[in-house]
Symmetry: C2
Subunit: 299 residues, 2 copies
Amino acid sequence: MRTPARWITTLSIGALVALSHAASAETADEILRRSPANAWSQIDPGQMLIMTLADKQRIVIQLAPDFAPRHIDNIRKLALAHWWDSGAIERSQDNYVVQWRGPVMHPPLPEGVSASPPAEYERAFGIQPFLPLPYPDAYASKTGYIRSWPVGTDGEKVWLTHCYGMIGVARDMPPDTGDGTELYAVNGQAPRQLDRNIALVGRVIAGMDALSALPRGKAPLGFYKSDTHMPAIESVRLASELPPAEQPRFQVMRTASDSFKNYIRARANRSETFFVRPAAGLDVCNAPIPIREEPARHL
Amino acid sequence: MRTPARWITTLSIGALVALSHAASAETADEILRRSPANAWSQIDPGQMLIMTLADKQRIVIQLAPDFAPRHIDNIRKLALAHWWDSGAIERSQDNYVVQWRGPVMHPPLPEGVSASPPAEYERAFGIQPFLPLPYPDAYASKTGYIRSWPVGTDGEKVWLTHCYGMIGVARDMPPDTGDGTELYAVNGQAPRQLDRNIALVGRVIAGMDALSALPRGKAPLGFYKSDTHMPAIESVRLASELPPAEQPRFQVMRTASDSFKNYIRARANRSETFFVRPAAGLDVCNAPIPIREEPARHL
């Protein structure tokens, strides 16, 4: 039995869907501008890292505990121990990755940090809902989005994809999986060959240009030739460690929302005047997940 | 009737093919190292631009006259007229493009430069041989390589793909196609939605990091907020304009060679120890075309 309140809600959603069908030429920007508040989800400050470089540039990272919980448990503990303070960006390889670490002279791993977590390269296909992309992909039998993250799947397993700005755990050779002390961010064409070969743990949600515009390292693999070339890290903090008024507040679009479905459709079929021939296609790494920053609470 | 000489040649090729099958675990690096001289083709200095920035960083560009001859005729004439000298990089948008132009106060277009060349966004599928990639793509019914260039095709037309480092002709709204005075280079995830919407004219073959590491512009679309922020261009020259001893000498791998086929196979099925699960897939924009510089003649 419908209550009036539910009836109103249903009508609103129906009207929204009708509107989005009628306005098939809506651009991605328009869809974002008109998206309702409930299309957005607050990012948990306990799953956000703030990296501040010595030059005061700030990089904000969202972690992905649904996909690599043990690695992220390590990373959160390392952040709480201030592991990366006085660390450095040691590598900037063009069209590949930027990579950072703590100080060379570092203490033992903090209590509870696993030196070799399990290989969280994929997980059972069970975090619903999944929004599949209707376009083929060279690497996965299907791609799409789960809980705001870009993924590939073979129907049984699901894994995060190495899109621009995604963050992974650097490691040596197998069966090593990396302890989380060295992380990298993708700074070019999605190196999808790394999917399921490494633990992806999150993404840069603000300040990516502070990493992507770094001078490339001149040693092999883009490592800097000496410590003096390495951009220094002042600190890395969990956002939840900061006083509430100083915590950054970010929202990510729910990939299960109608707004996101319309956004994806608009990105695949660009209706802006500039386009003479819309692609009618979309790569999972070629549609940045909408993320927006709210004003700080004390402003 | 086989002459002894032809028989020897045939045997050599047969031996090479047998070798490459036996060594299926050869890495891309090994394939490049062992590639025979005839797997490489000299890049014509008449189709190379050298852009020197005010800070003396050098960017070398290879033009693609097979794909956009009229635009490239414009660009060559503009270079010969020194159009971009004292110009500027006006835009650096993260994960999209870097864009440059000549001086704001510029002379009329040089003699013979078309103000609105035809829309060379695709061409008849006729420049053989075509090496198809056996993996699906979100944007084209097939992708692959023609004469050292990454392409998409629908079987009738063929077009260059917007891979990292590819260079296109900035334009305004249709039916404008851009006169070639403003060019851009892709500095992030391949913006394949631009394929067939814009004239691609070449690629950066050296010095891409001088463009990709530029600070991002803070105005909309990554434009710099004022001229004082714009990296200045000292000069842009056709390599063939330089004295022979100063011309850079580059070679590109023939995409019709056995070495390139093996290289692509190795990139799609990585056999390096690091990989626990080779992708068995490859995006057309995720295998940089091998290019190498020869020592300058006067060294």
